[in-house]
């Protein structure tokens, strides 16, 4: 993708953010380093996995199977995209850059710990509430609709 396509994404108005950039870390360089390329590849793989999760969330037949898509795809795709942008940020190896990477790693670790936990909490709440799992034979999508019980 070239730069003009990127401009058309933003829709013509220019991002005048000079007031933000004054005291900022220089994260975006004009050239491409090896780290940038690695980061882009990681982030792209993460986006592909998120595509799988999103399509699964849309297409899967019942609550529990959708949970499979959300619980797994969400974790790894967030991890990969965050690590990818961490690598993109880290090309000057400054102190501030390393601190940013540490913070990104903290977010990654946090998501790795909490995503399965909240999945589990939701699964359990749904199960105890009596949402019926579909099985191979049953054709009905969800036996229980919202508002019953």
């Amino acid at each position: 993708m070239s730069m003009d396509v990127a401009d058309s994404f933003v829709g013509g108005f220019s991002l005048d953010l000079g007031f933000l950039a004054e005291a900022s870390v220089e994260t975006i360089h004009s050239g491409l380093s090896a780290l940038d390329v690695c980061g882009m590849i990681l982030a792209s793989v993460g986006l592909v996995f998120f595509l799988g999760a999103a399509v699964g969330l849309y297409r899967f037949p019942d609550f529990y199977t959708r949970m499979h898509a959300a619980g797994k795809g969400d974790t790894l795709s967030s991890l990969l995209i965050l690590l990818g942008f961490g690598l993109i940020t880290l090309d000057d190896f400054s102190m501030v850059g390393w601190l940013l990477v540490v913070k990104l790693l903290a977010i990654v670790l946090f998501i790795m710990l909490t995503s399965p936990t909240s999945t589990h909490a939701l699964m359990r709440a749904g199960f105890e509430d009596g949402v019926e799992p579909v099985t191979k034979g049953s054709s009905s999508k969800n036996t229980k609709k919202e508002g019953e019980s």
Binding site: M3, L17, V25, F63, A70, I81, L100, E128, D129, S149
Partner: protein, 109 residues
């Protein structure tokens, strides 16, 4: 392909891929479906904040927002899950038949 172009593309792709989840929030047959989708959107918003920070060149600021957002998202989804669980099972009518009786001693969770 420049880094900035890729960043804009990644942000746009993240946004577009949130739309199926938003569909699930709108029509999901049970409230739990909606909650799952909200959870996914929340996690991806934290990621989107990091992308936006990279684009603006202020990642040192936006990464804190992303961290706080991830924390809040987890607490919120946990709280709503517990809330739905408790309110549905509280009324005086009998609990669902399938539900196995809880052993009081063994309940470690």
């Amino acid at each position: 392909m420049t880094v900035e172009g890729f960043t804009v593309f990644a942000g746009a792709a993240l946004f577009v891929l949130m739309l199926p989840a938003l569909y699930r929030v709108a029509v999901g047959p049970t409230s739990f479906d909606r909650l799952v989708a909200v959870n996914v959107i929340g996690t991806k918003t934290a990621v989107l904040l990091v992308v936006i920070g990279t684009l603006f060149g202020r990642l040192d600021m936006f990464v804190d927002f992303a961290l706080a957002y991830a924390l809040l998202n987890f607490v919120a989804s946990l709280a709503v899950a517990r809330y739905l669980n408790r309110t549905r099972s509280m009324p005086a009518k009998k609990p669902a038949k399938r539900r196995t009786p809880r052993k009081k001693k063994a309940r470690a969770s």
